[in-house]
Symmetry: C2
């Protein structure tokens, strides 16, 4: 049922819709075409376009000849008018990207296996990396609309706090947004990494077909982001997508939740490295290994799989099958028609496993007689979390209050 | 990100919002108050109210004095201008309700343990029951906007087909909407029963607080409906909410999906009656029992629990704990802040189990440091599925195209 909670924003909503149409038009779009595609009146189009031109977000200086009749003047995105930065804080990897208004990566940067044990140090490292990124980009600072930090959950985005991700030792109720904003003099927002990855897929997906999907993030941890009816499913505290404590029906590692048969346990580094040791693979960071040592051991494991070391490939296959099985159940819950798998580890090994993952998900899907589930690898590569952080900034900036942000 | 897919409906959207505001105002609402609460212009309010008055959906013949100043004329819902009928086709129970525009039950009817083995017969039974309901209500037939059938999934609502619910033997790809509409001369829609229950809860919930919840339907089967940001989560084929094939981590009954540790298996009648037999309870419909015999045996079991027969109470407690555990995991996935448990069986035994269910769900919730989960029993009683079917009709009729339906 419609509830009208966004009524105060209808004007801004129109602006967001028109801007989005211009943003998506690869070859420009005329005012007449905008009126047709949005259903808005020529007067409304005219008013909104005037504001967008004044703000420098679009330009209107090119005519296009298509068929008979007079050439039409087209509106085009001023692609680099605003830029957004995304940072993905992953225990094994800090990656950064800068996106333009079209969502294209202008520059990117990666810190492999950083020492993330001390939050204050890590925030300093992130701030320096942002400064370097801006310098490398050559973009004037006043074009940067903000910085989106994608971090593992649970977190408290409204308060700008990372609450205590199981894989980030020492990160309990750590303020991230405030210190980073102070260091950088930029607006900063926080988004759960798996949700950020889904935002990135939505931004880069097809406007018609990619409106109901689960995105699976395979990095140091595993989680999902969900898009339903073209909207990101964030949850009331922005922590949606936690799947780690579903039972997998067999004993694995003891889990912090008190059980020993959780998905998180089966997919944990502890369990994986134990299995790898049994298989004679050199993947062991030791019991008391820190975040960085575990991340390196994980990288070793992934490299072995990429090099098609049989035991590593087989272990990874089991890992993927487990995940696929659970994702198939989530497809049952949400009744989506697409699954996009991505993240830093998947970027390396996805091609080896995507077919079987697709089969398992479809086999688990209980209404497969009515529709199938397209299962694909993300095209966004290892930076999907960082790209999502930046897309979240663009979302916040452009929809529905672009002008307000430009007025800083 | 906003995508503007509903743009062509902005006018109708305004109408739906204004009508919803009038509908929800218990003591009438003035045009000035409407302008304040919706943010729409007085001109828009005036145009829409004129249409609603012309359609007879609201009236404006009462003045209210509140404080100093001249008495204000208030708009009020013409509560009985349109009525909607809901039918819940449950293997053990066919229930029917007629709702007025406020969503209040005007009349209801129940067929316990009907013979649902033959779809054509059952559709005939449903049609006769609708005729009786209309007659009992004393409402003129032209006020009935439609009939909403809530049925177990999987189904294909777009095609009006029940596809093959595991608990309804003989119902494979059965057309329901078309024959029922032909018999009744009324518009008919089909909705999955667990989704219908969620629609009922949304219609009857608090406009502010009840916007993100899971509703758990406990009837012959168990399923969930989900509401996120005030919107029903239906899924691309309207089959969302299937939770039966999650692993519960222990062997139970063999499941049609090929496993033997599914939630559906643990909660199945076969498993329950086997456990009941072990406990010496007279709950056994026999291996080849039909739908009706199983439903009766289930009713016997529920009656024993209600009468506090210790073995029945204990068995039911385990059943509820299993369900609560799984729902807690779903709360993790969706990050909602409320769970509403309802349905015919819950209406009988909910008071015995709601506290423990609430504890388990909150214990399973992984971001409980950030917010809690309110777990309550539905106030809608055993008819929640049928009420949801009727609410789905009201939704379709009022939002956003009331006038179109009135023009029949």
């Amino acid at each position: 049922m419609q509830r009208g909670t966004n009524l105060g924003r209808l004007g801004d909503f129109n602006q967001a819709v028109i801007f989005d149409s211009i943003r998506r038009a690869k070859d420009g779009v005329s005012r007449v075409e905008l009126a047709e595609s949005t259903g808005l009146s020529p007067q409304t189009i005219s008013n909104v376009v005037r504001r967008l031109l004044d703000d420098g977000l679009v330009r209107e200086d090119r005519t296009v000849v298509s068929g008979p009749g007079k050439p039409r003047t087209v509106l085009e995105l001023e692609t680099n008018r605003l830029m957004a930065i995304g940072i993905h804080l992953d225990p094994g990897l800090i990656s950064l990207v800068m996106l333009n208004l079209r969502g294209e990566v202008a520059v990117h940067k990666r810190l492999v296996a950083p020492e993330v044990g001390d939050p204050a140090d890590t925030i300093g490292i992130m701030a320096s990396a942002v400064e370097e990124l801006i310098e490398e980009s050559g973009q004037p600072r006043d074009r940067i609309v903000g910085v989106g930090v994608a971090a593992p959950g649970p977190l408290n985005p409204a308060a700008g706090i990372v609450s205590g991700p199981p894989l980030l030792d020492g990160w309990t109720e750590v303020e991230v947004v405030k210190p980073l904003a102070e260091k950088l003099g930029l607006e900063v927002l926080l988004e759960k990494d798996t949700i950020a990855a889904a935002i990135a897929e939505l931004w880069n997906g097809d406007e018609e077909e990619d409106q109901n999907f689960i995105s699976v993030y395979v990095g140091t941890g595993i989680g999902v982001g969900m898009v339903v009816g073209g909207e990101i499913l964030r949850g009331v505290s922005n922590n949606a997508g936690e799947i780690g404590h579903f039972s997998v029906g067999e004993k694995a590692a003891p889990c912090e939740c008190g059980r020993d048969d959780c998905l998180a346990g089966v997919l944990s580094f502890a369990h994986l490295s134990a299995k790898a040791r049994e298989a004679g693979l050199p993947v062991d960071a030791g019991e008391d290994a820190g975040v960085a040592a575990r991340a390196e051991a994980m990288n070793t494991f992934v490299r072995l799989a990429v090099e098609e070391e049989p035991a590593a490939v087989e272990l990874l296959r089991g890992f993927c099958a487990r995940t696929a099985d659970m994702v198939g159940q989530l497809v049952n819950v949400l009744d989506v028609d697409k699954v996009i798998v991505g993240g830093p580890i998947w970027a390396e090994v996805g091609h080896q496993n995507i077919d079987e993952v697709g089969e398992i998900i479809n086999e688990r899907f209980s209404v497969r007689s009515i529709h199938g589930v397209r299962v694909v690898s993300s095209t966004l590569g290892a930076n999907v979390g960082a790209i999502g952080g930046a897309c979240a900034v663009l979302d916040a900036a452009l929809s529905p209050k672009a002008s307000a942000l430009l007025l800083r």
